[in-house]
Symmetry: C2
Subunit: 573 residues, 2 copies
């Protein structure tokens, strides 16, 4: 790995830390915040996106333009970093950007090759570019290695954040986690705090470049607290510029913001959409309407963005959904129609001989309400061919879950055939509750390239359905009101196999998300038999989740890259 030629790390040159104090009165700066939606690994695309935003903002008078963490390569690049030419190619891309900068600096995240021969090969860094060159490099000090984050796998941390002198001002630069140092009050995650160091630096301005994915449950408020605390600690304004867009499971919500030196949020950018804004710190506070909005609107917007970016960044235009008449596929279809346009979404009803009349009519009504392309393909022939083919081996045995799974897999086979034939991405529709307890068929209803609502517990699927119906009946009321059923055997109801979803979701929240044991959960008053049965089902179905489609992360702990449970294990808790 080559070090970055022609640049000097702020950390390596101690004179950068001995600026004159800038207590003299200064004219208010105009600073551009470029909340952009990059694609992981798309070096030319990201470069052009950065340059266009830079030019637009400079044309509008920005004297400094700030971009998100790792804007040059997209976040998270993960093991692309280990491809031998990735970091050099990305540095070339950064140099091309730097060449186009003028007097107004552009500050953006990139991956620096670690110039030292010790420790990890890279730094997660920010480049301070102006007048055609990379003038300073600031390195991230705190590397998240928990939940979905693996930064210790790639990056060497810096001891201290960088302070850059610019036009007589002292600008402190931190990267994302650097301001998250000790958010968890029960223990200090990191032994040091970059903000504690910056406190002593008499900064005029503090920039934080972030790629902070969204999840429900107060992350927005938490960020506002961290940004204002950083401002109060540093005694200067903080500009927090966050990435926006979906990258695999992660949804970055933007919501860049500015705190003044008094710790007041004076600007809040759009949630779930790119935005370029010029802030003047003495102006009247301005907030995008989506900056603070209802929890259910956040979930809707997050899903729409995550789905759209997954489909479009994968090079697809069209999506395909199996419509059962039930609520999960209805909500998935409604999100898909918003994300891709109804004309790009095809709904397929796949009725069996067991399917109720309302399943077919509800699916059709949904498709009509949304304006989807709609077809119906009955699965009876394929199911009976499969059962007949198997009969020499199975005829002496009774019907069991095997025959239920055959139906689900016949549907999967047909949907995948249509996906192959027409180049439409199949969306899978399972919710978090059923994925948790394995109430789903591997290679059946689990087929698909993206699991849109797999991090949404069933109770919240109902809430989201009602929210989607806020203006008009998009999702048929009957779909919302009828008892959930997989319809894989006559008169089947979900509640034959599972407790009521209010109870199931509470148990799953405690077990999966909070790591509570069965005895902890039972102590809260739940039926011991139900608790033990459900957590046993969670444990037994790890193998299904291993083969599940990637799902959009909505909660603090989603199934997927942020939850790493062994498949074969025998711990009973």
């Amino acid at each position: 790995m080559e070090a970055l030629p022609g640049t000097a790390s702020a950390l390596m040159l101690p004179e950068f830390c001995t600026f004159r104090s800038s207590l003299h009165e200064q004219r208010e700066m105009k600073i551009g915040l470029a909340q952009i939606n990059t694609t992981v690994g798309d070096l030319p695309g990201n470069r052009d996106m950065v340059l266009k935003a830079y030019r637009r903002l400079v044309d509008q008078g920005a004297e400094l333009v700030v971009f998100p963490e790792l804007a040059v390569c997209g976040y998270p690049p993960r093991d692309l970093l280990f491809k031998r030419r990735f970091v050099p190619d990305q540095l070339e891309s950064l140099r091309q950007i730097a060449k186009q900068t003028g007097a107004a600096p552009a500050v953006m995240g990139f991956v620096e090759a670690n110039p030292s021969n010790s420790g990890r090969s890279f730094h997660n860094a920010a480049a301070f570019c102006h007048d055609g060159e990379i003038r300073h490099v600031a390195r991230k000090c705190l590397l998240p290695t928990y939940d979905v984050f693996d930064e210790d796998r790639y990056f060497e941390p810096a001891d201290l954040p960088a302070v850059v002198e610019w036009n007589g001002r002292k600008v402190g630069i931190t990267v994302c986690e650097d301001i998250w140092g000790n958010i968890d009050v029960s223990r200090e995650r990191y032994p040091r705090s970059p903000i504690e160091y910056l406190k002593e630096q008499k900064l005029d301005l503090h920039l934080n470049l972030s790629a902070s994915p969204w999840h429900c449950g107060g992350k927005g408020e938490q960020r506002e607290r961290l940004v204002t605390q950083a401002s109060l600690a540093c005694g200067c304004p903080t500009l927090y510029v966050n990435a926006v867009g979906g990258n695999d499971e992660l949804i970055f919500d933007g919501r860049s913001m500015v705190s003044n030196a008094k710790g007041e949020i004076v600007s809040g950018l759009a949630a779930y959409a790119p935005e370029e804004v010029i802030v003047e710190l003495d102006q009247t506070p301005t907030f995008a309407p989506s900056f603070r909005q209802s929890p259910m609107q956040n979930i809707e917007d997050a899903l729409v963005l995550g789905l759209r970016d997954y489909v479009h960044k994968s090079g697809f235009k069209k999506a395909l959904i199996g419509l059962s008449g039930g609520i999960d596929s209805a909500v998935t279809a409604a999100i898909a129609a918003k994300a891709l346009g109804a004309e790009n979404v095809t709904g397929i009803s796949l009725p069996s001989q067991i399917s109720s009349e309302h399943s077919k009519s509800d699916a059709e009504a949904l498709a009509k309400n949304l304006g989807l392309v709609y077809h119906s393909l009955p699965i009876a022939d394929i199911v009976s061919a499969a059962e007949k083919t198997l009969s020499p081996l199975t005829q002496d045995y009774g019907r069991d879950v095997t025959e239920e799974n055959i139906q689900a897999r016949a549907r999967g086979l047909l949907l995948m055939a249509l996906s192959n034939k027409f180049g439409a991405l199949l969306l899978t529709t399972g919710n978090k509750s059923e994925l948790a307890v394995g109430y789903c068929t591997l290679y059946g209803d689990m087929c698909g390239g993206l699991a849109v609502i797999s991090d949404l517990p069933k109770v919240q699927v109902f809430e989201l359905a009602r929210h989607l119906n806020r203006d008009r009946e998009v999702i048929p009321l009957n779909t919302i009101e009828k008892p959930p059923s997989a319809e894989l055997r006559p008169d089947q109801k979900d509640e034959d196999s599972l407790p009521p979803y209010e109870i199931l979701d509470a148990i799953l929240q405690a077990y999966v998300e909070e790591g509570q044991s069965s005895q902890d959960i039972i102590a809260q008053g739940y039926d011991p038999a139900v608790v033990k049965d459900m957590i046993r089902k969670v444990d037994l179905n790890e193998y299904k989740r291993k083969q599940a489609a990637p799902g959009l992360k909505l909660t603090p702990l989603a199934f997927g890259v942020g939850r790493r449970i062994p498949i074969v294990q025998k711990y009973v808790s």
Copy 2:
């Protein structure tokens, strides 16, 4: 998290580091090496296994018994550590073990709750137990966070390894990676070396507790070098005790060993099998025959162990395999028969109208050679039912890969039905080359709970087939000699879509395992069009691998937990 009551960390009590020197002549010790096969999370099972091995070895005269890293909970516990009761339950299990120890210490790996309120919640540690108590705790200094390892996600490193006084002897205790400090000559992975510290401690004995998974390509030799170097550096014997057994993707090969103070390996334990051995350092060197053996025998043994442990530790007894008459399913079946007993393996031939006669006869001959239960289920009816069901939507379009995938998915559906009906784990049979370029059908031939040879490139599948035939023709010669074909359209051959496997595997080795770019590979003389087409296929098929069954890791870089490439990304290298 509670600290471990009743124990004291060697690191916290400086008096442990001020032993009298023990240069006086000492009687040779008898030391027990317990190379055991634990199951992740099986606290009672692992406890009993540890105690039985301890008693057996003490009964044979062992004065000290050494176990592998994290023997109490199994390795790797991964996010089980975040279950709130896991570490406390595991500490209780350790206390139960300690209670049963007598004058002969037992040294074993466990997870310690970090007693400090700063940093990660746990230490990867070793307990030195005797006379009924946990007397000392030694903590791991170097935490692997690369490839399949995520230790920085869980553990706080120790600054220094522990030195324990025992019977007038100074015993240094390191854990696995602590002796791997700077194996990579091109850069220092860690800023410090526990062995450098131990050099100064005038040790009488050095113990290294490991859970080091095997992979081909010289890892055995590398370990011998590290163990002998540690002995030479410390000026004393090193006892290296490694775990054995399969845990999900990882295969721990055992091969515990002892180096004397002169840096000579004087004892080598069995590979791929548990073993308990008492070593006396002045004895004649003794080696298990499998300690050093041929590369292909290592692959065979690793696969047999990995498959057996995956199936048995999952609670299955029987396995099921679709037999195509081709080499991948033949090799998988031969490994399964060795691992589980032929009577527990069912082979199913699933011929289509396209299948050649030799496909059926080769599959049948294989089943007969191995002694498998064998059935044939033709897929024609299910395929024609599927095509007929789809025809209203597809009749205006030509046949394409859709119809090929329908055949593969019909097979998957039937095999999964048999797996469900008879409680046999379906094994999937794809090799690394086809998984790399996506020459496989998601939800079709990719169906299965375990991908047995998914880390074996096709050229090595042929080598392994010949190796399996070394005593008699187990795999029909025709299976080995005929040109590989997916038989999804008439007269199809793999080489219609792919370059010859010798070339493909070389390109994949360079691209996937070594991270070379297309231009690097083309510069070695490969056809530019072929290189670009193949690496494009690798990149495009990340989505299939996301949903692939777990596969047994055989190479330094397997698809799976050790390779984390974004699914949606646009980097072209």
